[in-house]
Every structure is written in structure tokens, then in C-alpha cells.
């Protein structure tokens, strides 16, 4: 029966060509959107590696002060903010904190293994503010103030790339133009770009921001991360702002809660998906309607054929199944071409996305296309099946 259907479609391949092309393109479009959706979904289920709730971010922009002066002001600002009873802990961090567009990355070289890694410059209080858990080794402490080597903490993804079967804690990375970097710990995961981003290699780099002990060394950082105690409301913000503008006179200071930042950053991530989905939905609907119309028309043209089949004893169910079957076979042709193209993505690793995401997207697309084809064929086929032999043969 199925072989017979394939022959039927193959014999009319020229007139079916347009329909197969349409199904093929629908498949590709669907595959693209579903890949993106499954990619986000897959990421969403992974842990973030930090807690954004009750974290406020104070972004600072200074004028022409010398770096040392800036560090002094930042140090005093940090002490002042921390002295508030509403504040649990304060940390300093570079501009690429979670839920910002900013990124810093660099090559990471060890034992002939190489990968690009994000790097986050933070001070020793960052773990407490962001609730980052250390899986192996330890978090930064004042021990790391020793000059010469820079203490870093890598994430698991970086460890998998560079230290697949050895313990990275205690290893020193030596590179020509950079100071030595010593790994003091490993964190499970830290996804700066938020819920929808993938888990990429990255590491924290320690910066001693204690001006009292470390006056001239160190660098300047853009953000003060403030963890407030439970129950603190937005009204506290103005108080913070006043304290800040007294210490950092003339600086441009902005306070945002990380919740706010998360909402707007996720919006930016999700908008492309929403737009793609709407456009894809429209294209598929368009194709479905077209398919429905054309099938309806074609089936109506074959009334005499149906009459003949019914007259020689085919049940109406058999006629119905034949037409549905034909459309599904038609869809199969389109899908096969589509799968051949879609499989190139996991095979060539174009975007470095996990194969599972692509497989799920292919399966999802196949399912949707078959459902759509069957749905479009159901009504015309039913009409064809309900034709009585007498009326059908009368047509001619």
C-alpha cells in the first residue's frame, strides 16, 4: 500500500514539485525556530551559579581623577555603604557583571590546550554578594594579595576544556606577556549572560581593592555590588545615593536592582525568538492554507477516479486513507530533503550548540509538518470519501 502511494506521487512528481518545495522550506524554517527555542529551553534548566535577588548594582562613572584617587574613593564608598544596617555585604566588580551587555574574553593557554574564556575581575567579597559556590579549592582571601601571581578561580566548563583529567587547583598558568595566574578554586557554573545563555568557559580574577593595605596597586572597577538584607525596600535607594554623592563628588552614579537588569536583559534575548516565531508561524500558516486549497482542488478533480474505486468495491474508509496517505508521502519527500540539510548543522558544529538540541528540533519539526499535512488533508479527503459511486460516475 505504502509503496503504491510512493509510486503514485513519484509518477506525478512534476505537478507535485511545488508542494514538496513548500513543505521543504516550511521544514527548514521550523527547524531554525525550534533549534533556537530548544537551545534557550535547554539553557533555562541549568543553574545560574549566582543569586540575583536582593542584589543592587551601583554603577560609577568618574571624571578625570587619577586611578589612585579613584581607588581611594571607591574604597571609602564601599566601607560607607557596608556600614548601613540594611546592607549585608558589598563587593566591587568589573563592568561585565551578570545581565549586562559587557563581555571581556581572552585566550586561555595551558599545556598546548587552548580555549577562549570570559574573565570577570572581582574582589574577595563578590562570592558572598552573588552567592557563588566554590566546588573545589577555595574562594579568594587576603592570602591572594601577594604580588607577582594573580589568583584566579575557573569554572567547570573551562576545567573540562583545559584540565580534562587533572585537578586544576594549584596549577599556575604562565604566559609570555601576562603575569602568572594561579588557580585557587573551581566553581560549578557562572553564566553571566543569564538564564538563556549557554555555559561557557570563564574564570574570576582577583583584584585587591583594599586601599588601606594596597594603596597604589590594583585597578579600578566600575560596579559596586550590594546585597541588601531581606525586607529592604526601594526607598533605601535615595539614602544610598546621598551617601555616594557625598563621597564620590561629581561622579555619575546609577543604582539598579539586579531584578530590573534581569528583566530588561532577558527581554532583549527573547525578542528575536518572539519575532522569529511570529514570522515562522505566519509562513507555516500561509503554507498550510495553500496546501489545503490545492489539495481540495486536486481531490475534486479526481472524483471520477474515486467513483471508479468505490464502484469496484473500495470502502469509503479506504478512499479516505488513500488520500491522507498520499499527502503524508508528499510530506515525506519534503521532510527527507529537509533533514539532509538540517543534519549538516550538528555534523559541522556550525554554532557549537549541543547535538541534542538539533535532534530535538528535527524531531519536533517532523512531527509538526506531518500533523500539519494530515490536518490540511483531512477535510478534503473526507469529502472525497463521502462521495457515492453513483454521483461520481455520473460526472463524466
Amino acid at each position: 500500500m505504502i509503496r503504491h502511494l510512493f509510486t503514485l506521487i513519484w509518477n506525478r512528481k512534476k505537478s507535485n514539485f511545488l508542494m514538496i518545495t513548500e513543505i521543504f522550506f516550511s521544514f527548514i524554517v521550523l527547524f531554525g525556530v525550534l533549534s533556537l527555542a530548544f537551545f534557550y529551553l535547554d539553557n533555562y534548566r541549568k543553574p545560574l551559579g549566582f543569586e540575583y535577588d536582593r542584589v543592587w548594582v551601583m554603577n560609577m562613572r568618574w571624571n578625570q581623577e587619577k586611578p589612585e584617587e579613584v581607588r581611594n574613593i571607591q574604597y571609602r564608598l564601599k566601607q560607607q555603604l557596608k556600614s548601613n544596617p540594611e546592607v549585608a555585604q558589598v563587593a566591587l566588580a568589573a563592568s561585565n557583571i551578570p545581565y549586562t551587555m559587557n563581555t571581556s574574553n581572552t585566550g586561555f593557554n595551558y599545556n598546548n590546550r587552548f580555549t577562549m574564556a570570559d574573565w570577570f575581575t572581582v574582589d574577595k567579597d563578590f562570592a558572598e554578594v552573588m552567592q557563588v559556590d566554590v566546588a573545589a579549592g577555595r574562594w579568594f582571601t587576603t592570602e591572594d594579595n601577594a604580588a607577582g601571581t594573580k589568583a584566579i578561580i575557573i569554572n567547570q566548563a573551562l576545567r573540562n576544556e583545559i584540565f580534562p583529567d587533572e585537578n586544576p587547583v594549584g596549577k599556575v598558568i604562565r604566559e609570555k606577556d601576562n603575569p602568572d595566574r594561579k588557580i585557587v578554586g573551581v566553581v560549578e557554573i557562572f553564566r553571566q549572560k543569564g538564564e538563556y545563555s549557554s555555559d561557557k568557559p570563564g574564570y574570576f580574577e582577583y583584584l585587591n581593592t583594599d586601599y588601606a593595605s594596597n594603596g597604589t596597586a590594583g585597578g579600578t572597577l566600575d560596579n559596586l555590588m550590594i546585597r541588601v538584607k531581606p525586607g529592604v525596600t526601594r526607598a533605601f535607594e535615595e539614602k544610598l545615593m546621598k551617601q555616594a554623592s557625598q563621597i564620590a563628588q561629581g561622579w555619575t552614579i546609577e543604582i539598579k536592582t539586579m531584578n530590573e537588569m534581569r528583566t530588561s536583559d532577558n527581554k532583549i534575548t527573547l525578542i528575536p525568538l518572539v519575532i522569529f516565531s511570529v514570522v515562522c508561524g505566519f509562513l507555516i500558516l500561509n503554507v498550510a492554507l495553500g496546501l489545503f486549497g490545492v489539495l481540495w482542488y486536486n481531490i475534486n478533480r479526481r472524483i471520477s477516479e474515486i467513483g471508479l474505486r468505490r464502484a469496484v468495491g473500495a470502502a469509503s474508509g479506504q478512499v479516505y486513507r488513500q488520500f491522507i496517505g498520499e499527502v503524508l508521502v508528499l510530506a515525506t519527500f519534503g521532510i527527507i530533503i529537509g533533514i539532509i540539510i538540517a543534519l549538516q548543522f550538528p555534523l559541522l558544529q556550525v554554532f557549537g550548540v549541543q547535538t541534542g538540541v538539533y535532534v530535538a528540533a528535527i524531531l519536533g519539526s517532523v512531527l509538526v509538518i506531518y500533523l500539519l499535512a494530515a490536518g490540511c488533508a483531512a477535510y478534503p479527503s473526507q469529502q472525497a470519501a463521502s462521495i457515492t459511486p453513483a454521483t461520481a460516475l455520473h460526472e463524466e
Binding site: 505537478s15 511545488l18 508542494m19 518545495t21 513548500e22 522550506f25 516550511s26 524554517v29 562613572r61 571624571n63 578625570q64 526607598a235 535607594e237 535615595e238 545615593m241 554623592s245 561629581g250 555619575t252 552614579i253 546609577e254 543604582i255 525578542i271 514570522v279 505566519f282 509562513l283 500561509n286 503554507v287 492554507l289 495553500g290 489545503f292 486549497g293 490545492v294 482542488y297 486536486n298
Partner: protein, 414 residues
């Protein structure tokens, strides 16, 4: 003749309403999406208040340095503007501004976040703002570094209360008191050369006079005397760029900067440019491929429907052929019918896109955006409709015209 074709087309449309619906649905939505996309691009790069005279404007937004330390692409400094950009002789006027930055005001203990931009007095002459009240600050304010400000009506409504006159009153932003001299209509966030909620004199900007670095956060708007001067200014600017002295040739030894339109300089060059080349050709190629791929599916769909529909009319075709109509006449007729159909679809698409743009504008996705359709978008939409109608009509018409008269009369297969 044409009138007859249109009459027939109309009758055919009414005959099978479901097919007509499918065709119109496909056409109108396809064109709607394309027109919304066009309107968005136009919103960012086309002339709009206050950048009305875009055909005479050029922008200096970025400088790029390459060398051993990699690439650096950033805004230029005040020093660069003063010593290099201001050397241009050909332009009518040059306005130097900073990028906008967030400032905070407090109204009744509630924070009001505003975006502030430092501008010179030329800014108000180069751009055409709609002043609701008061006037811009002038060269004197700029010279004396007066703490004066022009604000948008949004900022006024939030700070002083809705529709309260603000001119002459004082407003505090980031702890600095400004006297309001004028109120203008909101400017869309997407026009980043002019956007802000509060504009204050450039002379009050905190910058270090001894700083001779090239990087900073400044930008320039250049107004040419006439359109014809644009290439001259570009040339002159490139000769100035050649004279730029790099502060640290060991780090960066090549310097690029261009004075360009918004689309070319601010968008395309940032995405696809490579120092010398702006990547405009690549950009056009990519856009064309995307539009082509996007239109491909609806077109195939329409062709598919048209082929079916045309067969319904095989007896009509047979009669016309038997009475001596040539293939070309029939192809012509069918193309006219199809273009008529797509134009109706285009019109619907135009209405739909107006609706969608309204929704996008209301959603606040682009702050202070006033999205709308204008004659440019309409023209592009019309062009797209015609192309769409032509492409989707040619193949079915060709197939139909190949039909033998005898077979057609019998209601034959294609």
C-alpha cells in the same frame, strides 16, 4: 482593454472566495512584514525630527585603531573633535556633542532617570527640533558655561507636572541645578545622534583640557551647504584623518575614521566594516538574500494556488485561443490579473503594518519612538507588491499559455 481585464479579475476573485482569501492572506501578511521591517529601518536611518535634513548631514561617531594590541573602536575625544574634525572647511556647520549618559533626578523622593547630552549651540541650528515652549541655549550660554538646559516634554511632565510651563524654572539633575530655557518634543531613543531627555551646554561637560588622547565619548554632526558638497566633505575628512598623530604607535599604528550617513557609518560599518571598507555592499547583499528567502515561500505558495486556479478556467482559455488570442496576450492578461490581486493584498498589508507599528510603538520597546508609515515606506511597499505580483504570476501564466486549444476546451491537465 485593461478595464476588461480588471473586470474579469474582479469576477474571478469573487468566484472562489476561499482561494481569494488564501491568496490575499499570504500576500498581505508577507508585505506587512516587509513593510514593518522597512519602516523600522527608516525609523532609525531615514529623515525624522529633529534630523530632518539628513540628505545634507554627515556624522562622525567612531574612530578605529588597529595595531599590535588588536582593535579598538570607540568614540573620539573632545581633543580629536577640536583639533581634527573642526578643521573641515567645506561644511556649513559642525556640531559637537557627547554621547548621552544617564543622570538621576529626584521628584518627591522618587527617582527619575533621565538621559543627558552635552551639546554646543550649533546643535540647535544643525538639527530642527520642535520647540513646545522657550528656545534653545545660545552661543553666549555655551561661551560662559551657563547651567542652562533644554528638556523634552516627557522630562517636563515627570519633573514639573503635566503641561506645566517649565521655562525659567530650575531643575536638578545629578545634583547640578539647571535653568530650563526650552521644552522640545520627545526624540526617539533610536536616533542616538540627537536623543536625550535633557541637553546642556558642552562647555559645562567635565573634561580634562590637557588630555590629548584620541578616545573619549564625543561625536559630531556635520551639515553641508548642499547635497553636492557631501563627497567633497568626505574627501576633505579623509585627508585630515591621514594627518592624525597616533599617541602610541607601538600599540596602534593604523587609524580610521569616516564621516558618513547613519546607515552606513553607525550601523553597517559597526556590523560589517573593516577599517577601510564600510561593508555596505555586503550589507545590501545580505538584506537581499534574506528578503528573497523570506518572499520565496509565500511566492511558491501563491504560484501553487495560481496554477490550480488557472486550470479552472481552461475552457475560457480554450475559447480565447480558438478565436486567435496569442500566448503573449494571455500571459499579459493573467499578469495584469495577478498584479491587481497583489495590489489589493499590498493595500491590506499596508493597513496591517500601520496597525502593527502602532502596537510596537505603544509597547514601549523603543522609548519615545513614534513609528509610522510615510511616503518612502509606501513607495517601497508598492514596489515590493509589484515585484511579488509579477514573479508569482509569470510561471502559471506561462504554463497556461502553453495549453493547446483543443485540450483546453476539453478541460485538460497542465
Amino acid at each position: 482593454m485593461l478595464q476588461n481585464y480588471l473586470k474579469i479579475a474582479w469576477k474571478v476573485l469573487l468566484r472562489r472566495k476561499f482561494f481569494t482569501f488564501i491568496s490575499l492572506f499570504g500576500i498581505s501578511f508577507t508585505l506587512m512584514i516587509l513593510m514593518v521591517a522597512t519602516a523600522m529601518i527608516d525609523h532609525v536611518t531615514g529623515p525624522a525630527t529633529p534630523e530632518k535634513r539628513l540628505d545634507r548631514m554627515l556624522f562622525v561617531n567612531f574612530i578605529k585603531m588597529t595595531g599590535k594590541s588588536g582593535n579598538m573602536n570607540t568614540f573620539p575625544s573632545y581633543y580629536y573633535m577640536n583639533h581634527y574634525v573642526k578643521r573641515l572647511k567645506t561644511p556649513e556647520k559642525i556640531s559637537v556633542t557627547t554621547t548621552f549618559r544617564g543622570v538621576n533626578s529626584y521628584v518627591n523622593n522618587k527617582r527619575l532617570s533621565l538621559d543627558l547630552k552635552f551639546t554646543d549651540a550649533n546643535f540647535w541650528e544643525v538639527l530642527d527640533f520642535n520647540f513646545l515652549e522657550g528656545q534653545p541655549f545660545n552661543q553666549q550660554d555655551q561661551k560662559n558655561a551657563n547651567r542652562v538646559a533644554v528638556i523634552t516634554d516627557h522630562a517636563r511632565d515627570q519633573y514639573f507636572g503635566p503641561n506645566v510651563s517649565a521655562v525659567g524654572k530650575y531643575m536638578v539633575a545629578d545634583g547640578i541645578r539647571y535653568r530650563v530655557t526650552g521644552v522640545v518634543e520627545d526624540v526617539s531613543y533610536s536616533r542616538f545622534n540627537s536623543y536625550a531627555n535633557i541637553w546642556v551646554p558642552l562647555s559645562t561637560a567635565p573634561y580634562n583640557k590637557d588630555d590629548t588622547g584620541l578616545t573619549g565619548s564625543y561625536m559630531a554632526i556635520i551639515l553641508a551647504d548642499s547635497k553636492a558638497d557631501i563627497p567633497k566633505i568626505k574627501e576633505e575628512y579623509q585627508s585630515i584623518v591621514k594627518q592624525v598623530k597616533l599617541p602610541n604607535p607601538k600599540e596602534f599604528d593604523k587609524f580610521y575614521s569616516h564621516t558618513e550617513s547613519i546607515l552606513e557609518g553607525t550601523i553597517v560599518r559597526q556590523l560589517l566594516g573593516d577599517g577601510e571598507n564600510s561593508g555596505m555592499g555586503k550589507f545590501i547583499a545580505i538584506i537581499s538574500v534574506v528578503v528573497f528567502l523570506f518572499m520565496l515561500m509565500p511566492t511558491i505558495n501563491l504560484v501553487n494556488i495560481n496554477v490550480s486556479r488557472i486550470m479552472e478556467r481552461s475552457s475560457e482559455i480554450g475559447v480565447r485561443k480558438a478565436f486567435g488570442a496569442s500566448s503573449n496576450t494571455l500571459i499579459g492578461q493573467f499578469l495584469v490579473e495577478n498584479i491587481f490581486l497583489t495590489l489589493i493584498g499590498g493595500l491590506l498589508g499596508f493597513l496591517l503594518s500601520a496597525l502593527v507599528l502602532e502596537i510596537i510603538a505603544d509597547s514601549g520597546l523603543i522609548p519615545y519612538a513614534q513609528l509610522g508609515l510615510n511616503i518612502r515606506v509606501f513607495g517601497i511597499g508598492l514596489g515590493l507588491s509589484l515585484i511579488f505580483g509579477f514573479i508569482s504570476g509569470v510561471y502559471p501564466a506561462y504554463k497556461m499559455s502553453k495549453l493547446q486549444a483543443v485540450q483546453a476546451l476539453k478541460g485538460g491537465q497542465v
